[in-house]
Amino acid sequence: MNREYQLVLHNDIRQIPELATFVEHIANEANMDVSTALSVNLALEEAVTNVMLYAYPKNTKGQVDIKASILPEKIRFVITDSGIPFDPTEKEDVNVDLSLEDRPIGGLGIFLVRNIMDQIAYCRKDGKNILSMIKTI
């Protein structure tokens, strides 16, 4: 039987440490090595931070729902929010080979999610953004 976990946060970045504890727990349950656990944690932080900072209008409380499923040899994470439609899979990738002068300051968050996760998929359903990510372990 698959093991399912859930964490509900709000659009408040001060809650990011709760996400780190949640991911750490799943990493332990899935017997993930420390290095993979750290990068998965990073990808989750980036994806969730993006929702917390940009999905909802300022001064509006909004929810971020994080589900994790431990499957054979992989973990699936699903992040759901009811904010403005945003498809991170369509965002243009950052060029990491640019020189210092040409290098923009931002844009690395989604780039890290894409690079760390093995699969990433987005859909908009019933007024919600649903981002699914799979990490092979």
């Binding site: 970045i13 001060r14 990011i16 440490p17 780190a20 420390v34 290095s35 750290l38 990068s39 944690n41 990073l42 932080e45 980036e46 931070t49 950052v94 990491v96 080979d97 640019l98 210092l100 002068e101 290098r103 300051i105 931002g106 690395l108 968050g109 780039f111 890290l112 690079n115 760390i116």
Partner: protein, 97 residues
């Protein structure tokens, strides 16, 4: 997350995640002002960094380039080195063991 400043060296201790980035940026303000020198970021006790932390590194590096200084990143741990590699940061900084 803790930042200890000693002259032109800043030791970053702990987890530089999104919520810690603002206070880290504030703590590093004196080094931004002295970016015409060689600044050392001692990362030997830095356990984790997210894009908001990388942003600070890059801003400091750009400031140093504009003022004729440089930034040395010292003692980064293996997992953070991987993040630096992934994001092309290894090419932007002087890395020392």
């Amino acid at each position: 997350m803790e930042v200890q400043i000693n002259g032109l060296t800043a030791s970053l201790i702990g987890r530089l995640d999104t919520p810690a980035s603002q206070e880290t940026m504030e703590a590093l303000a004196p080094l931004f002002e002295q970016a015409d020198n060689t600044i050392v970021l001692d990362c030997s006790q830095l356990e984790y960094i997210s894009s908001s932390g990388l942003r600070i590194f890059l801003m400091l590096r750009k400031q140093a380039a504009a003022k004729g200084g440089k930034v040395i990143v010292k003692g980064i741990q293996e997992d953070i080195r991987k993040v630096f590699m992934m994001t092309g940061f290894l090419n932007l900084f002087e890395i020392e063991d």
